[in-house]
């Protein structure tokens, strides 16, 4: 409804052309334009989510159900055989999706809560608080995180909640760095100054003025960080201090069945068995990266022809 008269009016000023659409139609449009890699990634992630949610229905046997046939070969009864004490590997892989992915998601969310809030506060404050937080983060980052996690887990014990908290705190340092860096670009904007002049508190400025403007890089980082957390948990489990038995977990499943790989010369399928949980980890990581890549490209504002 552009008013094309020859007199100036504030209503008739030319602004960028824009049709109001619901979030639903907007996301449908961008989904339709998504590249095949991103679609592939989304399908895989969706599949993992389904498996994790419906694990008890999909799995033929229980998570810790032991059969009197350790190291059974692949068969119609035990699709991927059984492990060293006779648990069905296929069932454990399905439950593993729930445990490993669930713990990784919880850890990543916690890491973002800690790192995000502290990063925002440091960016707005810019004085002593920034110094204290940034230097403590430097100290934490100076210690290799896997070794640090090993030490802490040995001290506090390998329970699921300890695992989540320790990895979240260690990973929140990276989130802190990112949040602080991207927030600094927003904090200098006049609208943040306007909010300060209005007398708004720290919480409002963080939540309403800055957070919505730094969401795109944070969401992309969430995907990547999730991959790292996931790999860290798998690595810790492989080393034996991650998720503890009898809880099914892909990392420890690789370790427990690692010796089977030596039988590959006699039975190829048996040799493949320890690689299955590893492949599950790899596939999910690749899928998430595909989606994050697409998202980053989209939010970078580059057109397709550039």
């Amino acid at each position: 409804m552009k008013i094309k008269t020859n007199i100036y009016s504030a209503l008739g000023e030319v602004s960028s052309v824009y049709d109001r659409r619901s979030i639903w139609t907007r996301s449908l449009i961008s989904l339709r334009k998504a590249p095949y890699t991103a679609r592939f990634g989304m399908v895989i992630i969706f599949g993992y989510m389904l498996v994790a949610i419906f694990a008890p229905i999909l799995a033929p046997y229980g998570e810790a159900q032991v059969f009197p046939k350790p190291y059974a070969p692949w068969s119609s009864d035990y699709i991927f055989g059984t492990d060293q004490i006779g648990r069905d590997i296929f069932s454990r892989m399905i439950y593993g999706a729930r445990n490993t992915v669930g713990i990784a998601v919880a850890t990543t969310i916690l890491a973002f809560l800690i790192g995000g809030v502290l990063g925002l506060a440091a960016a707005i404050n810019r004085s002593w608080l920034d110094q204290v937080l940034s230097r403590s983060v430097d100290v934490l980052m100076a210690i290799p995180s896997l070794i640090f996690a090993l030490v802490l887990l040995s001290i506090f014990g390998s329970t699921v909640s300890n695992l989540i908290i320790i990895i979240a705190v260690l990973d929140s340092t990276r989130v802190y760095r990112l949040t602080r860096a991207v927030s600094l670009n927003v904090v200098v904007m006049d609208y943040v100054e306007a909010a300060r002049l209005r007398g708004e508190g720290l919480g409002w400025i963080m939540r309403r003025e800055i957070l919505p403007n730094i969401m795109p890089p944070l969401i992309a980082e969430f995907g990547l960080r999730f991959c790292f957390v996931f790999l860290t948990i798998a690595a810790l489990s492989f080393l034996g201090i991650g998720i503890q038995p009898p809880t099914a977990d892909w990392g420890s499943m690789v370790r427990e069945n690692a010796s089977l790989i030596m039988f590959a010369q006699y039975d190829l399928k048996a040799g493949l068995t320890p690689l299955l949980p590893a492949a599950a980890i790899a596939l999910l990581t690749v899928a998430i990266n595909f989606v994050v890549d697409w998202f980053l490209h989209k939010t970078s504002g580059l057109r397709d022809d550039q």
């Binding site: 552009k2 094309k4 020859n6 007199i7 100036y8 009016s9 504030a10 209503l11 000023e13 030319v14 602004s15 960028s16 052309v17 824009y18 049709d19 109001r20 449009i29 904007m189 006049d190 609208y191 100054e193 306007a194 300060r196 002049l197 209005r198 007398g199 708004e200 309403r208 003025e209 919505p212 403007n213 057109r303 022809d305 550039q306």
Partner: protein
């Protein structure tokens, strides 16, 4: 060397050009069938408000479209070749050789890692027009023609080592280096101070005249275009409104829209009687770190009036705003508001003290949060200061929108769906929402087109009358001061040079600095620049 076209021959002709831009999943018309003819040695001024398509047309004259745009119809004949159909390879041979472009922001257009002379001569050397030595020699001559200081050595500097006005002139030298037939200037002086603008305009005009180059000069500043152009074309919504030789266009515009553009500069506020002060600054000194930026500043702002602070960038005028709002506590002196002393630091001021002083910013783009809707932006001060909730807030927001001449249809819009002028109006509404007595306007119109500026100034004047507001108006534009101010404070290097009633300050005799500032403001007279230059030369000689 290229076969130079004779003066008066048609160099460029555009016929029925249509350009579309792709945004939001659809193609939209940007240029709707515009014709344009440019003769050799002629300067064509393209004017219009933002969104009129003037930059798109200027670039199209070189056969270039911005990413996401396409030429759908029409032809662009440059010296017998249709640029609309020419291959990219063919166009690249013309660009930076027979046609060149001078961008708005010189600072953003130079590569900071190379010396100026290397960048000035790059395209000539690449195209094989000149050898390296002759190109360097020529660049030095161009620097001399453009009145750059120390023309033999300025080319050895890096972009950050020269001022904005100098950089803009170096860019003109860069464009002139291959002696193009066509130059496109895209708002080259918009980002400069008035006193610098005069020098840049004068050197641009002399170089265009000296080398008989045809030019397209894109701007929204009518007074500037009057100095530069032989012919003026007015654009709006991608259509041509009117085209005529400059003198005829200025004295007798035919279309109502053109007349409204011309009338902008006639706005002038009548002098008001002086009332008691609502805000007074007494002996203010302020520092950024060790550097002292304000020296003993005393300003009285009478209630219900407008005090304009004038000065170039770096004169400390924005610092005064930061002191009054409490963002930069003064090191000595007192800020008195409505009879009481304001605590220097923002944190020590009460909510009510904060509410009564509001601020409107220069860049509306950065002053409103791009992720909040108009309802949230204007509604927040209502909720925060006045404790309004839900339906009451929305009703009041609609009232405020109507007060700034917009309507309820804007409630759910995001800033990216607003034009520059509309954004600035939203900022005004946000300030009004707090029901303030005193509003600081920091260069609120300098980023806007003139016709939009006029709309905003009229709005501010009306609001002042209706609500009895007091304004502190920070600006470098003298015509804005004439339009809105009652009193004027002239600042230079952190000190007040002159202050008093507008009528007094604008009457001679002036202190030197005020005189320079006043004489540098372009006027709508096409002879203004020539007269000014000869006058200044006489004084200097």
């Amino acid at each position: 060397m290229t076969n130079r076209t004779e003066k008066g021959a048609v160099l460029l002709s555009i016929k029925g050009l249509k350009i579309q831009g792709f945004s939001d999943e659809k193609w939209h018309d940007i240029i709707n069938g515009v014709d344009l003819t440019l003769h050799a040695g002629e300067v064509l001024g393209l004017i219009g408000e933002s969104g009129a398509g003037k930059s798109t047309l200027g670039l199209a004259a070189m056969g270039y479209t911005q990413p996401g745009c396409r030429i759908t119809e029409g032809e662009i004949i440059f010296d017998g070749v249709d640029l609309a159909k020419l291959s990219d390879e063919g166009k690249r041979k013309l660009w930076g050789n027979r046609m060149a472009y001078v961008a708005q922001s010189a600072a953003a257009s130079f590569n900071p890692a190379h010396r100026l002379i290397v960048q000035t001569t790059a395209s000539s050397i690449r195209a094989g027009i000149k050898s390296r030595e002759s190109a360097y020699e020529d660049a030095k001559q161009l620097y001399d023609v453009l009145n750059l200081p120390d023309p033999d050595h300025i080319g050895d500097r890096y972009p950050h080592q020269v001022s904005g006005g100098q950089l803009q002139r170096v860019m003109t030298a860069m464009a002139m280096s291959p002696r193009p037939d066509l130059l496109v200037f895209d708002e080259p002086t918009t980002a400069l101070d008035v006193t610098t603008q005069v020098e840049v305009l004068a050197s641009m005009r002399s170089i265009v005249e000296e080398f008989n180059t045809a030019a397209i000069y894109i701007t929204h500043d009518l007074a500037v275009v009057a100095q530069m152009a032989d012919v003026i074309k007015v654009l709006r919504y991608g259509y041509e409104v009117e085209e005529a030789p400059t003198r005829q266009m200025l004295s007798a515009p035919e279309q109502a829209y053109t007349k409204s553009l011309w009338s902008v500069r006639a706005l002038e506020k009548p002098q008001q009687a002086v009332q008691a002060s609502v805000l007074s600054l007494k002996g203010i000194e302020a520092r950024y770190g060790a550097e002292k930026v304000l020296h003993n500043v005393n300003i009285e702002v009478p209630k219900g009036s407008t005090v304009a602070i004038v000065g170039e960038s770096g004169s400390g005028k924005s610092t005064i705003a930061r002191v009054i709002t409490g963002l930069l506590p003064q090191t000595s002196g007192i800020v008195q508001f409505a009879g009481e002393d304001l605590p220097p630091a923002l944190a020590n001021r009460s909510k009510d003290q904060k509410r009564r002083i509001q601020m409107i910013y220069q860049m509306a783009d950065t002053a409103i949060n791009p992720r909040q809707t108009v309802r949230e932006i204007i509604g927040r001060p209502l909720e925060f200061y006045l404790g309004m909730r839900g339906g009451t807030t929305t009703k009041r927001v609609v009232d405020l929108l109507e007060m700034i001449e917009l309507d309820a249809g804007f409630l759910e819009r995001l800033p990216e769906e607003l034009s520059g002028g509309q954004k600035q109006r939203i900022c005004i509404a946000r300030a009004l929402a707090a029901e303030p007595e005193f509003i600081i306007c920091d260069e609120v119109t300098s980023a806007l087109d003139q016709i939009v500026q006029e709309g905003i100034l009229k709005l501010l004047l009306r609001l002042q009358k209706e609500l009895g507001l007091t304004y502190l108006f920070i600006t470098h534009d003298i015509s804005t001061v004439k339009a809105i101010a009652d009193q004027v404070v002239v600042m230079n290097k952190g000190e007040v040079v002159e202050q008093g009633l507008k009528t007094d300050v604008f009457q001679p005799p002036h202190p030197d600095y005020t005189a320079l500032l006043l004489s540098s403001v372009p006027e709508m007279d096409p002879d203004w620049l020539s007269n000014l230059i000869s006058k200044r030369q006489m004084v200097a000689g």
